[in-house]
């Protein structure tokens, strides 16, 4: 090992008006290794990345690359020095070709003119060398997200990156693609390339990382070899307290069937999907990305089309028409993409909470007094942390936003509450609180259908789990039969 580090961050501090975002952070990255950086959302991980590539100026501390102190003025300069960043939300130009994207800001040519042929040939070579079966003229928007991500890595390496910093690279790709990504990382590691790997996901960290640094509240809490840690100890360091059982599951007597779907079909999406949810029951839906879980739920909620099938809700026939009708029929759904289909970012927390519920009140006018009171009560009940209900919702952390979106539905009566990835992208502490809320709801008799890609979460919270693959339900497991292996088996089973 020795003391030779590829990249060292020494005593980095950074303040923004009103808050110290980073406080004396130390990270040492050994050459040819993957160094995981973990921490709750808001712990300062993104700020740290931006300090390294010069988007932010650090207040104190040193960045040392190959033993020399460096200070970059921006991403181009850091890229030239061999540090590449791959952001969670990938940066690319959807309408431009693969070649143009690879050579963005580095187009071959002179005096502002681009040598197209040269660029295409070089792009083609890069693609071939990395087994990416694409024509360099293909527009980026036609590629799946995983390929674009792979392209970013390939691009970084093609321009001689020695350090690659990745921010939650697996948040939007399937398990199979994750494997490809990890293979690539392993291969590049052998070539001596080092990775700073920012992630929430424990399994990944144990799978891929050599070293780990845990950040909490802007401070680097502890660093070391991954093999010295366990999942529990990492979580304990992240949240600053130990979580013995993070799933507050309680088993209650379950009522009669509240919701039943029979043979739901949607062309090209899912086929013959039948399942039921009982009163007071939490039913999990497992499956890989693209298995059709969200599509089924969205169709029930009236967001996506449903071709055929029968739904019985509290003993009555229900045919999805649109969201308004679904809400009226007491089917509610917390959508997967919080930013896109959840919050109205610029508006206040109050308006976001009551957005769905004023429909049920009669008349044209709002009852402002009642609205304020109810929004206030609801956010206190869910322990939302904010400066007040008039704060724009976009200034809140993901976990608090999610609580407010739950509050939106809790204002209404519900016969079926669908939760699509309710804890995606929120930190461990907030997750725990969301689990508590869900458990409480089940206790109150809510019928809950929960989609999640995190198996431990599904296993920890559900009474029953349906597993889907390629648009079919491939199995249903009772609580006593829950096991990750069994679920994965069903999730990859092709024959019905």
């Amino acid at each position: 090992m020795g003391d030779v580090y590829k990249l060292q961050l020494e005593n980095i501090s950074k303040s923004f008006p009103g808050v110290k975002a980073l406080d004396d952070v130390n990270i040492s990255l050994r050459p040819g290794t993957v160094h995981a950086v973990v921490g709750e959302n808001g712990a300062g991980k993104s700020t740290l990345m931006k300090i390294i590539n010069g988007l932010y100026k650090r207040d104190a501390g040193r960045v040392i690359l190959d033993g020399k102190e460096v200070s970059f003025s921006g991403p181009m300069e850091s890229a030239d020095a061999g540090i590449a960043m791959i952001y969670q939300e990938l940066n690319f130009f959807p309408e431009l070709s693969i070649a143009e994207n690879i050579f963005m800001k580095r187009q071959p040519g002179k005096a502002g003119w681009v040598k197209w042929q040269d660029m295409m040939e070089r792009a083609k070579k890069i693609l071939e060398e990395n087994d990416l079966p694409y024509d360099p003229r293909t527009k980026i928007k036609e590629l799946p997200i995983a390929s674009i991500q792979m392209l970013e890595i390939v691009k970084a390496v093609a321009f001689h990156a020695q350090v690659i910093i990745m921010d939650e690279p697996t948040s939007s790709i399937s398990n199979k693609e994750v494997k490809l990504l990890f293979d690539k990382i392993a291969q590049l590691k052998k070539q001596g390339i080092s990775f700073l790997y920012i992630s929430h996901k424990m399994e990944e960290i144990f799978q891929i990382a050599d070293d780990i640094t845990i950040i909490r509240d802007g401070k680097s809490i502890i660093s070391g070899s991954v093999s010295d840690f366990t999942e529990e100890s990492i979580i304990a360091h992240m949240v600053g307290r130990s979580i013995e059982n993070i799933y507050p599951k309680e088993v209650f007597p379950i009522g009669e069937v509240a919701f039943e779907a029979k043979n739901l079909c949607s062309e090209g999406m899912f086929k013959n999907v039948s399942f039921n949810v009982k009163k007071g029951e939490i039913v999990g839906m497992a499956g890989l990305v693209g298995a059709g879980r969200s599509e089924v739920c969205r169709a029930i909620f009236g967001l996506d089309p449903l071709d055929s099938g029968e739904i019985i809700l509290s003993g009555k026939q229900y045919t999805p028409k649109n969201v308004t009708h679904a809400i009226k029929s007491k089917i509610l759904m917390l959508t997967e993409d919080r930013k896109k289909e959840g919050i109205v970012g610029v508006r206040s927390c109050r308006e976001n909470i009551t957005l769905a519920s004023h429909r049920i009140r009669k008349g044209v006018f709002m009852n402002l007094k009642k609205e304020i009171q109810e929004a206030q009560e609801m956010s206190e009940m869910l322990k939302v942390r904010f400066a007040g209900i008039e704060t724009p919702i976009q200034s809140l952390s993901g976990g608090n936003q999610q609580k407010l979106l739950l509050a939106r539905w809790l204002m209404l009566e519900s016969d079926l509450l669908i939760l699509d990835e309710p804890t995606r992208g929120i930190d461990v502490g907030a997750k725990l609180e969301i689990y508590n809320i869900i458990t409480d709801l089940a206790k109150k008799g809510y019928s809950i259908l929960m989609i999640s890609s995190e198996l431990p979460e599904l296993i920890g919270m559900s009474d029953r789990i349906y597993v889907m693959n390629q648009g079919y339900i491939t199995g249903c497991l009772e609580r006593q039969d829950f096991a990750q292996e069994r679920i994965m088996q069903l999730a990859t089973k092709t024959e019905v």
């Binding site: 923004f16 008006p17 009103g18 808050v19 975002a21 808001g42 509240d217 600053g240 967001l303 649109n322 969201v323 308004t324 679904a326 809400i327 759904m333 959508t335 896109k340 289909e341 959840g342 919050i343 109205v344 970012g345 610029v346 508006r347 308006e351 957005l355 769905a356 004023h358 429909r359 009140r361 044209v364 006018f365 709002m366 402002l368 206030q376 956010s379 206190e380 939302v384 942390r385 904010f386 400066a387 007040g388 008039e390 704060t391 724009p392 200034s395 809140l396 952390s397 608090n400 939106r408 502490g429």
Partner: protein
Amino acid sequence: MKEKTKPNLRKYSLVLILIGMIAICSILSENFLTPTNLTNVLKQVSIVTICAFAQAMIIISGEIDLSIGFLAGMAGTFACIMYIATGNLFLAFTFGVLLGAAVGAVNGLFVAYFKLPSFIVTLAMQTICFGAISLYTGGQNIYKIGNFKVLGQSKLFGFLPVTVLFMIIMLIITHTVLKYTKFGRYLYAIGGNSDAANAAGVQVCKVKWAIFIVSGMFAAIAGMVMMGRLNAGIPSEGGGYETDAITAAVIGGTSFSGGAGTAFGTFLGSVIIGVLNNIMNLLGVDSYLQMIIKGSIIIFAVLADYFSKNQKSGIKIMASTSDVKKSENK
């Protein structure tokens, strides 16, 4: 958790700017701070302000309505023709409003249900409106409109110009709609994030359709007041009101990306431009130079808005994350 949000400085910044302007103007010209002149300012801005209310509501919902100007010209002139034919002012006025609603409904139909960009649809509608009225009148202006002029020239109780009264009524209506109705709330939600609004059960298409109808009605009312004031039916007079309305709305704090804006802000934005025009006229500033000054001030206003917004939201986000951290450490 219950701590009150700090008083929003921006909320009052327009009022402060206006007060500052009035103070400076009254020093620059002794004719400025007289009741007659101030009434004049209000009279001059009333028509564009009515258009600006419509435009503000449209922009809040994330769209734009470029047909407002010529729709006003067309509906106003047709109302004159109706009045000449029937001699019934109430009938003529109702006809004008319905005509505006009909044109707005066509705009809204294409924007909401066929998902065409509102910029293009309403740009085309602008031409259609002017074409339609010119075809009907053979390109002639309509004179001798008789008592139709009361809509723009009379005074209530001997001092309150009817044009100003119309503006105030529309201000109250717009304020009420935006602040106290569900419909207003949906406008903000759709403009802020229409996918989220849809997923919360807001009937996005219906609301969008409706707001274009409302915009058409507002434009028609502005048009009739305009013709009354001109004492003639001159369709071409409407041209340009759509852009002046955008200016007023934007200076008044309406966010061009949708989801934010108020009736009072729009009103103040319009009055600020009115005061600016007025003082430049009083001082005898060359009219071409006036245009340059006006344009520059608009850019400056938007720039100031940009900087204040960016700075503020930055600090806010930081402050809120620190709040979260503090409470998590407990």
